[in-house]
């Protein structure tokens, strides 16, 4: 492209306050108008796909949890779906409800996080603080039912790892009841703000054709009127057993994406409430035992907050996969920038980039290699969680003594 050379290059990244993660976008600008975008990735490249080939089936759930911290239950979710597809395992009903509860809680926390960050990108820190304030109780629920604020370690091949205790259910219900009016208030505040509308409407429009060309998924697709949602299209866990709706918008701009995300939070609350009701009546096992994984291949997908997470596993009958392919939603969502950024101003690009809720950690999941011969001990996810909790305890004790 010749016109690239003549234009000013405005770098966004690799270290840029817009992105919490390192990433490099070169914006080729003519004045304030962006004429081309180039993306350079790999700053976050860790090598999970290769590492998966060196781990046993059970360990991988912990590893894929660390593909991304924000969708830290979606990746294990898709992974166990894939392995269960491979081994043709049916999970017990109680496990289905628990999986959906964790998945939907994560969606609420992730969408609120996005709303807050989007406000922050627009210099509207009040929205940022309010959204994150309302997000805290969700993290509290997580700590209550899974033991950690992030990286919940709930998924397990054949079911879930922990049960949701009866005495915790009313607490979760109470928090959700309190959350709902706050969510409504926040949604009203965001959607009614005239200046926000001026900044977001008609910005970064993606057409349904763009979505199809790039294979974009999740809220990015649904905001453009493409009603795909893995939870409905391919119901796993409890999604076929409860009532909820797929939210779509037609406009395809950043505003529509915000609307979709905010309204999805309400659907998530609805799903969780129904699941909790069913949990009270259903007393079954929370997991079936899966002794070995037969040779073959399996595909699992799940609707993460950002879109479809896709996992492909292949087994040769040993205790570790031959190949594990992970496709995070951002991998197909980020290339749409080329369609949505061109012709926009730099100010808008910032919010467009934020609009698809890109998650670079997810995109660059690959590449850590581990020497199978050396036999050096690797830390597993459980070790890390245990260490982390021990450290926290220690710090707490120390703080307690000092203060």
């Amino acid at each position: 492209m010749d016109n690239k050379k003549k234009k000013v290059v405005v770098p966004i990244g690799p270290y840029h306050p817009l992105l919490e993660e390192p990433e490099y976008f070169a914006l080729f600008c003519d004045g304030e108008v962006v004429v081309d975008v180039e993306w350079q990735a790999g700053y976050n490249h860790r090598g999970i796909e290769k590492l998966c080939e060196t781990k046993s089936w059970d360990q991988i759930t912990f590893l894929v949890e660390r593909v991304c911290g924000i969708c830290s239950t979606s990746h294990p979710f898709a992974y166990v779906n894939a392995v269960e597809d491979l081994a043709k395992v049916e999970i017990p009903e109680r496990a289905r409800y628990i999986r959906s509860i964790v998945g939907e809680l994560e969606r609420i926390h992730s969408h609120l996080l996005w709303v807050g960050l989007a406000g922050h990108f627009l210099g509207y820190n009040t929205v940022f603080m309010w959204a994150w304030k309302y997000r805290e109780p969700v993290l509290d629920i997580f700590e209550l039912i899974t033991g950690n604020r992030q990286s919940y370690a709930m998924m397990k091949i054949g079911g879930v790892r922990r049960d949701v205790l009866d005495e915790d259910i009313p607490v979760v219900e109470r928090v959700l009841d309190e959350l709902k009016p706050k969510l409504e208030m926040l949604t009203q505040a965001v959607l009614d703000d005239p200046v926000l509308s001026a900044r977001l409407k008609g910005v970064g429009v993606l057409t349904a054709q763009d979505i199809k060309d790039y294979g974009a998924v999740g809220p990015t697709a649904r905001a453009s009127g493409v009603a795909i949602d893995v939870r409905r299209d391919s119901p796993c866990a409890a999604y076929g057993l409860v009532n909820w709706q797929v939210i779509t918008c037609q406009e395809g701009d950043v505003f529509a994406k915000a609307v979709v995300r905010l309204l999805e939070c309400f659907e998530s609350v609805k799903i969780i409430q129904q699941c909790l009701e069913k949990l009270k009546k259903n007393r079954g096992p929370i997991a079936v035992e899966v002794r070995e994984i037969p040779p073959g291949e399996g595909i699992g997908h799940y609707e993460a907050p950002r879109g479809e997470v896709f996992h492909y596993v292949r087994s040769d009958g040993t205790n570790r996969p031959v190949r594990h392919k992970i496709r995070a939603p951002s991998f197909v969502n980020i290339p749409t920038f080329r369609a949505s950024c061109l012709g926009q101003t730099i100010s808008d690009v910032a919010i467009i980039l934020a609009g698809v809720d890109p998650c670079y950690c997810c995109t660059e999941r690959m590449l850590t290699v581990y020497d199978a011969q050396s036999g050096r001990k690797m830390m597993t996810g459980t070790d890390l969680v245990r260490l982390s909790q021990e450290k926290t305890e220690k710090i707490k004790q120390k703080m307690g003594k000092n203060g």
């Binding site: 976050n44 860790r46 999970i48 290769k50 911290g69 924000i70 994150w132 992030q150 890390l384 260490l387």
Partner: protein, 138 residues
């Protein structure tokens, strides 16, 4: 303690650097700014330029592609400046430690003053880490 050190302990400006982390630590760092923890009470603010920073918060394994940039950013930080490694990955490499994509842990790339382990460390732990750093300044 002289006035300058005292002023420094009351006004730490931090720059956050993610070098191949899984986002967990990053959002917990941001969480420290939000209403429940509100570190601005102690004069801690997140700044957008490394030139304004007193503390470099590093999370993640320190990928090979990043190693040079981490060093460069460290050099650009006006002294006195401190480095805090946040999370299991930054401290030791964590679950990704044997990967060839990894140049870290961070302490092998730049000198680290305080390590905050955890996957991810809770905001309380991060604040405790910063308090440790302040204690060391005195």
């Amino acid at each position: 303690m002289d006035l300058k050190t005292k002023a420094l302990t009351r006004s730490l400006w931090v720059f956050h650097l993610s070098t191949g982390s899984c986002n967990n630590c990053d959002i917990e760092i941001l969480d420290c700014l939000t209403p429940r923890y509100d570190v601005e009470r102690f004069g801690i603010v997140l700044v957008g330029s490394i030139k304004h920073a007193d503390v470099l918060l590093v999370s993640g394994i320190g990928t090979r592609k990043n190693a040079d940039r981490i060093k460069r950013l460290y050099e650009q930080m006006p002294k006195p400046g401190f480095v805090v490694a946040i999370g299991a990955c930054a401290c030791s490499g964590g679950i990704f430690r044997d990967g060839y994509a990894m140049a870290g842990p961070i302490s092998e790339i730049i000198p680290v003053d305080v390590w905050i382990p955890g996957c991810p460390p809770k905001p309380e732990a991060i604040i405790a880490g910063i308090v440790t750093l302040l204690g060391r300044l005195k």
